[in-house]
Symmetry: C2
Subunit: 615 residues, 2 copies
């Protein structure tokens, strides 16, 4: 453990640069404190393209970032105004929360600094319910819902200019496969989607720093990035940097899956500095509290952990409440048994005590905690397949049906729910997963890990799973949990996080285009137009990863002049197919001109000499 | 141009190592000179897993490689035996074939060495036809067909051990989407597929070095890698090394797309050293011969180029014979016009002369050349979309229908045909491409470039296109043309070639599994079993890229002891989900045991004391 805090400014220097040719702009909502961020790219032809942006204040040079103070609490006034919460002393943080012994010193600088970061927790007033779903069901459009509506809508003006051709739009019209995406995303429509459980806005009242976003099949497909230290690797500063880095490359939410020491303190740092919702798997910390021995877990330790994390501001909890005792033996003859960490902890507990999963048994009490803070359920698939051999088996689908049953119970409390999905699934069985989820879980947002289509691609599982992710997202999955190149092999570093995110942004975007999300294709139209016109700078700046696009181009043609050249390294200067296309246009225009002339000639009675003016 | 030949031994040192724990084995056919290579992986538990292998003699330490002599001509006796070809003087190689002026010296060492490599060309005896299709249609099973059958069949014994569970096989049964894949791949069945045009065996009689392979929807999905120098980059030695490197990482065929100088000599080096079929786009060289001016192309120059390349041994020609004059104006209002180089050259020629495409007009004469050497058509999609906006448009599908018409005409000559496909296509329009191709081209093998599902991922187009590739391959595409990370940005280097290939091997394998190709899933079962049993070495060695899998594992846990450890870096030593699964098995067995005991107890009449022995 370091004795001086890390140099956070240095840490963020390369992580917080605005993207090239880009600036942060804000869409103004119905009130001055409702400002929705967008990234605006200035093209060399004067056009302005604006893009969905989850990088938070980090890419806004106007905001002074101080990780030791945390981000501004933009939602604080909204929460305050609702006047249905109270500030309270909160649970007393214990050494054991960080996996330390009672006598361990808590005086190291990161812990001391974390104390400064800590907010006084809030909770619903006695008997109250502060979930977005609860407001939605009472007909209230919250600022969070309006924020989401503006964010999903984006700036449609520039998109319209690219999508104006009716014949083309008819040819390319998306196939939503059952999604019901409106042309205009309004706050009232967001409210309806949240009310019927088809969308989730993860937004703990103790995470006022977050910029609200929605997860639902009728919204843009979202991507989650997992970070977190483990017993063998990584420190707090590194995790905070990964958080910021992940949002830069498009993480819509981040899960902190820390399992080693300092779990509590790491989470303080992450939450106070996160513009995106944070999810956790509380059983990881609960297990640390009982010395890593699954059998020693109990409801009291678990409940204490839920409250601890809810007070810190965690926005959604992965809870493996569907790993029921009778399902556990169904996994015994699998190729790879139970591969979910949470699932196997609970399976171990169930069989050690020969008792029903305590999360399942205490589900009502969990709902009471969730609604006091607005923590959303992410009902975990503890029995997901870990190999193609185990895909779509009895254990997996028995658990999925239980998650559907729990969805109904959570909704009776107006608690928000997502459903987690697999895992390893061969391509031809992917859509059955989506179908079963829609059938049994009433369109609660599906949140899948991949799926990974083959087992033999370690080192490239981000690619093998992005293929499955694109397919299931087209089918209706609302959020994709990324997989990095290190999956099955090790813990992702900064570069792995980026590679995983880009692969998954590709999958998500491919699905948005396929579903026909309004305006989704405009970015592709803009970059293709830039390509056709040899506007290299614009091609780089509109790319998902401008840095890599530019670097790759420079490898072959490093000179600045090549960036305005009307050729590329593929064909070289002498011959260029794009250039020939310009000739084709002239030819077509000439042919059309001739045809028109000829028609005119015929109309004029085929007289060779047409009088210049009427006499 | 260098004055001494490159050190080829050094060049190949890192490219020819056998894969870890692997050795080359051969399946013996019906004759001693028919030996089909496989890569056998020796697992730490004593199992032997054998894999399809296109790396040729390069990964067989028993073969002495000398790039300056070329590979052994394994097909030479087969061709000889058929006694339907003749050796002849061949066309005289000219300086212009290499893009040099008449007075340029041809004495540089690579050219001189190439002379040694050159074989005396063969062709069909007057009026003859030496295509695999011609033999197939006459009921002849050639050694090439038998080779293909053994290769596709592989060693089924080890696969059967992994795929023995009937209930699991029923649950995971593939969905072939119209493919008709038999349980056993026999030489006679290969013959039938070739005879009806549903499979192609590219095998020019002047490329006797190649190990025959088949391309067809009822065979394993194949991957092509493009290499080739251009006006701005790359030399001969580098291209030869890329060829060997590409086959190492799974290129089933390689296209030499060179466009700069030394086209002819580069091709000599590539063909004589290639164990896989080589494709070209002859119009690139023809264009060089007329100084890069499309309008100056003519049938005579083109015909001369076809013969030149057929004599060298090129196995398939991409010919854009479907870019018909009336289709050219259809591209005028596209977002990105014509993006195929070959397509745009011919479009330019058509509009410059206001005449029909000379390839279309001379198609019969082209067939006569193809059948004299057994060069397969790869009918090019010169009007493929270069952006989502242009996908599935009038120009694209008009050309596709013409390719269907040309397929019928080629088949009248018993000439083998593949059909090339797009390009940039949004996910929801991918299957329409497959459907149109099947409808209009009579199941001639489809050979697609991607398709790429979005336009805004330069730097990662190998990923964005692998997604589309997996989908269209599942639908019936027989061969996938890879895309590298450099697509749209620059020329691929060695690492890009590998990245492109791995992404496409993933796509192809995912499709084989989805289609239910017999035994395809066995590799996944084997690696998953190794994962479950913590056999790390076996996991690495069964991976598509063993080197990267091992390196990634070592990044987090570099010690050798970690490779036999019963934990991984994701969970750490204290807690491991795989370990818990072992506990579940014991529990399930105990439960089952109890249930049996209980049933036995009831059967025995519920007596508490059962007599130990009958009295």
């Amino acid at each position: 453990m370091s004795t001086t805090p890390p140099d956070f400014d240095a840490l963020l220097a390369s992580t917080c640069q605005p993207f090239p040719a880009s600036r942060k702009i804000y869409l103004e909502g119905s009130r001055p404190d409702l400002r929705v961020p967008l990234r605006e790219v200035l093209l060399t032809n004067g056009e302005r393209v604006s893009l969905y942006d989850c990088s938070g204040p980090y890419t806004d040079p106007a905001v002074r970032i101080d990780l030791q103070r945390g981000l501004p609490a933009l939602r604080a006034p909204w929460i305050e105004e609702r006047a249905d919460t109270e500030s309270y002393a909160g649970r007393i943080v214990q050494a054991a929360d960080d996996g330390a012994r009672r006598d361990a010193s808590r005086l190291d600088p990161l812990h001391a600094a974390a104390r400064k970061l800590q907010r006084q927790p809030r909770r619903a007033k006695a008997g109250g319910n502060v979930t977005q779903m609860h407001y939605a069901r009472r007909g209230i459009v919250t600022p969070e819902m309006e924020f989401v509506a503006l964010r999903e809508q984006g700036r449609r003006e520039w998109m319209a200019a690219y999508l104006g051709d009716a014949a083309r739009e008819a040819r390319l019209a998306g196939n939503p496969l059952g999604a019901q995406i409106p042309r205009e995303i309004t706050p009232e429509w967001v409210r309806q989607e949240v009310a019927r459980g088809r969308a989730v806005i993860p937004a703990n009242i103790n995470h006022p720093e977050l910029e609200p976003m929605a997860i639902g099949r009728n919204f843009l497909v979202k991507v989650n990035a997992n970070i977190g230290n483990s017993a063998v690797s990584s420190g707090i500063a590194e995790e905070v940097e990964k958080l910021v880095w992940a949002t830069r490359w498009g993480a819509d939410t981040v899960m902190d899956l820390s399992t080693g020491k300092q779990i509590h303190t790491t989470r303080d740092w992450i939450l106070r500095n996160s513009p995106v919702p944070i999810g956790t798997v509380p059983i990881y910390q609960a297990l640390e509290k009982v010395g890593g021995i699954a059998e020693e877990l109990n409801w009291e330790v678990f409940r204490d952990t839920l409250i601890e994390q809810a007070e810190q501001g965690v926005d959604y909890f992965t809870l493996h409440a569907g790993v029921r005792l009778p399902f556990v033996p169904m996994t015994a003859r699998r190729r790879t048994g139970i591969v979910s960490r949470g699932g196997s902890i609970l399976a171990k507990w169930c069989i050690a005590h020969h008792r029903e999963n305590f999360l399942y048994e205490h589900f009502e009490e969990i709902c009471d905690i969730m609604k006091a803070y607005d923590v959303a359920f992410s009902l975990g698939d503890g029995l997901r397949p870990g190999s193609l051999a185990d895909a779509n088996d009895e254990a997996q689908f028995a658990e999925l049906r239980t998650l559907g049953e729990l969805t109904q119970r959570a909704w009776q409390h107006d608690v928000q729910v997502m459903i987690e999905g697999p895992g390893h699934v061969p391509m031809h069985l992917v859509q059955a997963n989506m179908g079963e989820q829609l059938r049994h879980c009433y369109e609660a947002p599906f949140y899948t890990l991949g799926p990974l289509l083959i087992d033999c691609s370690p080192g490239y599982d981000h690619i093998a799973s992005a293929i499955g992710a694109a397919q299931i997202a087209w089918g209706g999955t609302a959020m994709l949990c990324y997989v990095t190149p290190k999956e099955h092999l090790g813990l992702p570093n900064r570069e792995d996080v980026k590679q995983g995110l880009i692969a998954y942004k590709i999958a998500a975007h491919a699905a948005d285009v396929a579903k026909g999300f309004p305006g989704a294709r405009a970015r592709d139209e803009a970059i293709s137009q830039a390509r056709f016109e040899f506007r290299w700078e614009d091609q780089f700046n509109l790319a998902l990863d401008p840095d890599t696009a530019r670097a790759f181009h420079d490898e072959t043609l490093p000179k600045d002049s090549a960036k305005v050249a009307h050729f590329c390294s593929m064909c070289g200067p002498k011959f260029c197919s794009m250039k020939i296309s310009q000739d084709v246009r002239e030819y077509e225009a000439a042919q059309r001109g001739m045809a028109e002339k000829s028609a005119e000639f015929r109309r004029a009675g085929s007289e060779v000499y047409v009088p210049l003016v009427k006499a």
